[in-house]
Symmetry: C2
Subunit: 204 residues, 2 copies
Amino acid sequence: MTIHYPNGKSYLQSKQPKSLSQDNNTSFSRRGMSLEAELNDANAYYLATGQAVVHKKPTPIQIVKVDYPQRSKAIIREAYFRQPSTTDYNGVYRGFYLDFDAKETKNKTAFPFRNFHAHQIEHMRQCLQQQAICFAIIRFVIYDRIFLVPADYLISKWDEQNHGGRKSIPLTAICEHGYEIKYALNPLIPYLDAVDRFIKDIHR
Amino acid sequence: MTIHYPNGKSYLQSKQPKSLSQDNNTSFSRRGMSLEAELNDANAYYLATGQAVVHKKPTPIQIVKVDYPQRSKAIIREAYFRQPSTTDYNGVYRGFYLDFDAKETKNKTAFPFRNFHAHQIEHMRQCLQQQAICFAIIRFVIYDRIFLVPADYLISKWDEQNHGGRKSIPLTAICEHGYEIKYALNPLIPYLDAVDRFIKDIHR
């Protein structure tokens, strides 16, 4: 049985190899929020403070049947989830077009490619052609470490995989090629700091 | 009774004042497509030809009840349409972040502001602060004329309206401050041509 602290982290977590876990004992009362919820929180903060306009796209839904009851609003009675053809987040920051997806993995040593769909990678490729700032935000749940991983790096590894390469990206490689995002107070995930470093490196 | 030609245009159309109707007798077999369908067509063309990555955002839906029948995919059984908090279209073009909404009006002399929601205008304002290329694509259905109208012009008129100004923008003003998009063959609405002219004027 796994014992959970009130902050949602499991007790087992502290038994992970020290070298890979972030040296961060401060709790910011995350209470087990999902990465998506944390990013929505960050986006709301950035919007309210006039720093960026980034929204999560709604889930695409195929609507089949809608009822229009009298004196009340339309009720969708039959609908199905559709596969999104893009990444989940996009927006504008200092004139830059940002485009990214957020992924979590419970894997301890690598990020498995099965978390991505081919069409998401294809979308990133198309965005890069248009000079987008394109990346993935990947959380290693067990260590509670978050990285901005540039899309061009992801895509190169994805293409290698399709030609017999490994089916995952090692955490050590992500540490090297990504930009770590440290938890903070407001917003919890100050991912624009990592975006700044990323943009600086692109235009170097 | 209005007589319709096979291309979906009404016979009455030709009776409109010559000065306002577009001098364009060529039919491109639009068959009465909606502006949204035409824009989706243009976006698919621009994507396939590597010119831009622009998608319409899915309609936001509040899901209340989902059934998971055995051996088949999830069925949404109760859901409601939510008010979108942004514009409908965004994407990236030559490093520029594009953000726009598409509106049609049957009005003959002006575009009524009731076609916009306050939150859409607010979203445009936020995007402009981040140096977005932000606009509306407005079609005057009766004349079949389409214009790219810059967001800053729209917003200034919107603000005037809220302080006792008129509740619409005259077509003559849109002719003057907007960029007309002429129907073509592929795509039907080559709106990036108007975006090019708009960007040129911004950076002049």
